[in-house]
């Protein structure tokens, strides 16, 4: 049974308080009518099943009722991080040791800086 840190409550709580809601970051197409049947089918039905780092959507169902994301390793079941809606994971397949979010932020800042200087 998982021990999950709710990023809204700021506490580790038992898995019994949460519901899993599948893969995280599945955005609904902005204009569904513009999707082909295949594109819409992909959005509805197709999900990743990685061996390794997986981003998941969970809800603190009998707690604060907030949805949030978990980065979990599907082999060790280790939860590497939990983060609020709208935030980016720092652990990704490309950054298994973390740091992805910061580097993304840094890149954005660097780009901004570069823009200012240019």
């Amino acid at each position: 049974m998982f021990y999950i840190h709710c990023p809204y409550c700021g506490e580790l709580r038992e898995e019994e308080e949460f519901h899993p809601k599948g893969q995280a970051h599945i955005a609904r197409p902005a204009d569904p009518t513009a999707c082909t049947d295949e594109e819409w089918g992909d959005y509805l039905f197709f999900r990743d099943n990685p061996r390794g780092i997986h981003h998941e959507l969970w809800v603190h169902a009998v707690g604060c009722r907030k949805f949030f994301n978990i980065t979990r390793h599907t082999v060790s079941y280790e939860i590497l991080e939990t983060f609020k809606m709208g935030e980016q994971p720092s652990f990704t397949t490309e950054h298994p040791q973390g740091g992805s979010a910061e580097s993304a932020t840094r890149q954005a800042q660097d780009a901004l800086q570069a823009g200012v200087h240019a």
Partner: protein, 1012 residues
């Protein structure tokens, strides 16, 4: 009553406290401090069971959790029956009654053993499938007898009289196992101030120190155990849990500990000071760090007839002698691959009994214990092993021969030694079960001849469990592990002074698992690997020859390790044999996975208090007591108890359900009825974007719903399939009240939150569940207006308060919201009041309703009435594969809404746009007396050869008192284009019903009755 094998002194038993017990109906005596196994051995009981498959006589082999044979049925009463108790782990208590789980008519003379003797050759692995193949129809007959002859214990037929608890615990350091490593670890961690839990499965803590020959600080090891336990018991931050098995190691350091509190005292928990005691507790521990100090299990050697009673693992012999003062025989032969097992011979000799010889598989053993044995004059036969035990119901001799380990063959002559006990040791396997529960695969160490645990985050291992065997090193290893665990949890642990132990010089062990025999394995007498499941070396060899090369396949084909002991003794030997047969190394063959539970856990402990009325929460409406007092029969709807129907007593006889429902239906159609609809889910929705949000989650339009108006809505998932429905009322421009199905309430709220929080956080809208806040009573029928008018200040004029309007006012002097909506097709008012006032309003309605014969009705009548009107129930007419169009509810779909609402896009997918989808229709049975079965399959041609193409099924079916006929709702392929056609419903009993496809609306198709 003598105990022929009880030594005159020694052991940790209380000699002054004698206990009487019975085994297989015979009375024996033992002592407090005995296990059932030690007491049976003390009394010279050789045969404790019959084996699973061959019915061979079996005796006690081990002294702990790994025991495969002494698995007994406990209990003197029916309710006290406990199956599959290991006699080695059951403390003796006065009046204990136990019997063997196998053996007919008894273990001494067993009929099935004839089959076993004759049938040995006919019962290879997979014999079920090979022997009992044909004819297939007889398998059920075979199976009954196979099961009977192969069963283990039986479950009690009466309710468990005992109570069980769950405890939720937290600690920084959980130490599992209280042997030398565990005690040192717990002490070191505890000194840091961290919260420490120390658990041990045995009656007494101390582990191997309880029967050790080593002296700690020059004193018996048990003195250090006592002193350490006293120190730990005196610390507030330490919880000691003896008689507690860590049965499962789950994710994120969640460990379940099964604490047996009364099983050493009696069959059921005796009251203490007049209060019921808890029989056992399941501690659900979330540990910061876990230290596994679980020690080792000794491996027996696999030689011919190694299952005859009198064959034991060497360490168990020492345990029985030193801990229980029981020497389980007179003349011992020891067969070993290592030094440590020499203890058994030395302990035996010191008990004053004869050691015939030690067969050591090594050519030049020279360790300290070997020299001690030599000095005592024990004959040591080097380079040799016991290749076969003699005897039938007890060992009578041992055949010893020189063996070539590398060549796997017997070299030289065979000597037969007379003996009654044969101890063997093939080395020590770390107890890696708990580490294995985490999913981490163990790794083989050639230098240790053992699998060592692989560790996940937050766990460490100490002592024998990681292949550290010498007592001094084990203590140090434990201390280090305890200190580190506390340190990782943020506590600084001072080093602990450990007792001094003389270092013993041990020679290297050799790798020996299966002992070669003069005959090849397939023809030699049986060499058992898994004693509980009767798996032999020949069986494993045969499995590999038949192509089962993966150890997981070998395991499943032979059933090795599938017993209640999970193959604790035999699995490594089995892997070694598979490796030999496949010409691979043990790590190449790999290991199987151990899963929870480590030892069987009684269901009661798993369930705890979550049984009977506490199994699942029960929800009651505010009027529940009234329903009970008025004789309602109840139906479970989710967690709710809803009145199903209200049978009346007429002339002393209680109405049948059929009669009650018919009466309730007529009351609503002709007079007035009332339904407790409080269980409907209610969600209060507020915010400037509430209306926009509704438009996105419902299929229909909400833009123009004015305050005071109500609208029915369908909800789909984004795959276009209906998942809930209900009405939503506009309470104010930015304020709505949504109702959901009773069972869907929680799911719908979570669904709304999901979309709001993850997709449309920019919408300002808030959802609050108010299901329990409001009680709802539906007053419906032609007389509903007249009745309600007597109690309300709301203007009920048909123009002022129209169908699908709602009004605020008072009912029975209580603030109320009244909704003019109808689920019956009749004039109806749904009165919502605060739940605390509900009983008053309900009773006031009845006080005024008497003259109208106001009739309470339940869910069954509600179902009949709504089905007569073709109103769907989400979850009954729908099953996650039904679109609004399939339901014929295009009128409820806003195709031209500006925002692409949830489910819209999917309705034009190729599959959802098919015209031959299953569509909702009405069915009228040709014989009005027939009420079709819900779920019955529908075919178009009943003369079609089987399998007939099935075109749909019945979703709802009732008898309608209004129509005086059965009627049904059903989904039929392309049904909306088949009006008037005949379909057929072939039933399991051979009858075939005929029905006509009709409209889903059976009564008042124009909807005039609800609009009066």
């Amino acid at each position: 009553m003598s105990q022929p094998n009880r030594l005159g002194q020694g052991g940790r038993i209380e000699r002054s406290r004698k206990l009487t017990f019975t085994f297989n109906g015979k009375r024996y005596q033992g002592h407090a401090g005995d296990t059932l196994a030690s007491a049976l051995l003390a009394n010279g009981v050789d045969i404790v069971n019959r084996s699973f498959k061959y019915s061979r006589p079996r005796g006690i082999v081990a002294a702990g959790a790994e025991e495969p044979n002494a698995v007994v049925q406990l209990g003197s009463t029916e309710s006290g029956q406990v199956p599959n108790v290991r006699a080695t782990q059951q403390a003796l208590f006065e009046g204990l009654e136990a019997r063997s789980t196998n053996g007919w008519p008894n273990v001494q003379r067993d009929m099935m053993s004839l089959v076993g003797k004759l049938g040995g050759k006919f019962m290879p692995p997979g014999f079920y499938y090979k022997t009992f193949m044909a004819p297939a129809s007889l398998w059920m007959t075979y199976e009954k007898y196979i099961r009977k002859s192969a069963g283990l214990g039986r479950s009690p037929m009466e309710n468990d009289p005992d109570i069980y608890d769950h405890l939720h615990q937290h600690c920084e350091v959980l130490v599992i196992g209280a042997g030398p490593a565990g005690l040192a670890a717990a002490l070191a961690a505890a000194r840091s101030g961290a919260r420490v839990i120390l658990v041990d499965e045995q009656e007494e803590m101390g582990g191997s120190l309880l029967d050790a020959r080593e002296r700690l600080d020059g004193k018996p090891a048990t003195q250090w155990v006592a002193q350490t336990l006293k120190a730990l018991a005196g610390m507030d931050n330490v919880t000691l849990l003896p008689r507690t098995t860590a049965n499962g190691y789950h994710d994120h350091n969640f460990v379940t500990l099964h604490e047996r509190r009364t099983e050493h005292l009696g069959e059921t928990a005796a009251p203490l000071n007049g209060r019921r005691q808890v029989r056992s507790r399941m501690h659900r521990v979330r540990a910061g760090r876990v230290v596994l100090a679980t020690g080792t299990h000794e491996r027996p050697l696999v030689y011919a007839n190694n299952d005859v009673p009198g064959n034991m693992v060497a360490g168990a012999v020492s345990t029985y002698i030193r801990r229980y003062g029981v020497v389980p025989g007179r003349r011992l032969v020891l067969s070993t691959s290592n030094d440590h097992a020499y203890r058994a011979a030395l302990d035996w000799l010191e008990s004053g009994r004869e050691v015939v010889a030690i067969a050591d598989a090594r050519s030049t053993p020279d360790g300290e214990l070997v020299e001690q044995a030599r000095a005592q004059g024990i004959r040591i036969i080097t380079g040799s092993a016991v290749i076969e035990a003699k005897g039938d119901t007890r060992v009578s001799g041992a055949r010893v021969a020189k063996v070539d380990l590398d060549g796997f063959r017997v070299v030289g002559g065979v000597e037969t030694l007379e003996c009654d006990t044969l101890a063997s040791s093939g080395g020590y396997s770390p107890v890696i079960h708990l580490a294995s529960h985490t999913g981490a695969r163990p790794t083989w160490r050639d230098d240790l001849l053992a699998f060592l645990p692989t560790l996940v985050k937050g766990v460490s291992v100490a002592g024998g469990a990681q292949g550290v065997f010498a007592t001094a090193e084990v203590l140090k290893d434990g201390e280090t592990a305890g200190r580190q665990a506390a340190g990782e949890a943020g506590f600084e642990a001072p080093s602990v002074s450990l007792p001094k132990v003389a270092r013993r010089r041990d020679g290297a062990a050799c790798a020996l698992y299966q002992v070669p025999h003069e005959k090849p394995t397939l023809r030699a007498p049986k060499q058992f690997v898994d004693l509980q499941n009767d798996v032999t070396a020949a069986g494993i060899e045969l499995a590999t020859r038949e192509g089962f090369e993966s150890i997981e396949h070998v395991k499943r084909y032979t059933a090795m390790g599938f017993g209640t002991d999970q193959g604790k003794l035999g699995n490594i030997n089995g892997m070694a044999i598979a490796a030999r047969c496949l010409d691979k190394s043990i790590p190449e063959v790999g290991t199987t996975v151990f899963r929870p539970n480590y030892t069987p856990v009684t269901i009661g402990a798993i369930v705890g208090r979550h049984c009977r009325e506490l199994f699942d929460p029960e929800r009651y409406t505010a009027m529940h007591q009234w329903h009970v007092e008025h004789g309602a029969e109840f139906e479970d709807v989710g967690q709710w108890k809803r009145p199903w129907y209200f049978p009346r007593k007429i002339d002393g006889k209680t109405e049948t359900m059929h009669d009650a429902v018919a009466r309730e239906c007529r009351a609503v159609r002709e007079g007035v009825g009332i339904l407790d609809a409080s269980t409907l889910g209610k969600i209060d929705i507020q915010g400037p974007d509430a209306r926009e949000f509704l438009g996105r989650v419902y299929t229909n339009k909400w833009a123009k719903l004015a305050p005071g108006r109500v609208r029915y809505g369908l909800m789909c998932k984004d795959d276009g399939m209906v998942f809930d429905d209900g009405t939503t009322s506009c309470l104010g421009e930015n304020h709505f009240l949504m109702t959901t199905t009773t069972g869907g309430a929680a799911g719908v709220l979570e669904w709304l939150e999901l979309w709001h929080q993850t997709e449309w956080p920019e919408l300002q809208v808030y959802f609050t569940s108010v299901t329990d806040h409001w009680a709802t009573m539906t007053v419906t029928g032609p007389e509903a207006r007249k009745l309600l008018a007597e109690l309300t200040d709301i203007d009920l004029d048909r123009e002022a308060f129209q169908f699908m309007d709602w009004r605020e006012g008072t009912v029975a002097d209580v603030p109320a919201r009244v909704f003019r909506i109808s689920f019956t097709g009749e004039l109806a008012y749904e009165i919502n009041v605060q739940a605390n006032y509900a009983q008053h309003v309900w009773e006031a309605l009845f006080a005024h309703g008497e003259k109208y014969d106001l009739t309470p009705y339940g869910t069954e009548t509600m179902h009949v009435l709504r089905a007569e009107k073709g109103f769907i129930i989400a979850g009954q007419e729908t099953d996650g594969s039904v679109t609004p169009e399939d339901l014929g509810m295009k009128w409820c779909v806003g195709y031209d809404k500006p925002f692409s609402w949830i489910g819209q896009r999917a309705l034009t997918r190729q599959d959802t746009a098919r015209t031959d989808r299953k569509q909702l229709v009405g069915l009228k049975p040709k014989d009005p007396k027939v009420v079709l079965e819900e779920g019955a399959q529908i075919v178009l041609d009943p003369k079609h050869a089987i399998p007939m193409p099935m075109v749909g099924h019945v979703t709802s079916s009732y008898y309608s008192p209004t129509l005086d006929s059965g009627f049904a709702l059903a989904v039929v392929k392309g049904g909306q284009q088949k009006m008037g056609e005949t379909v057929y419903l072939p039933m399991a009993d051979g009858r075939t019903h005929e029905a006509e496809i009709v409209s889903t609306i059976f009564i008042d198709p124009k909807g005039e009755r609800q609009n009066v």
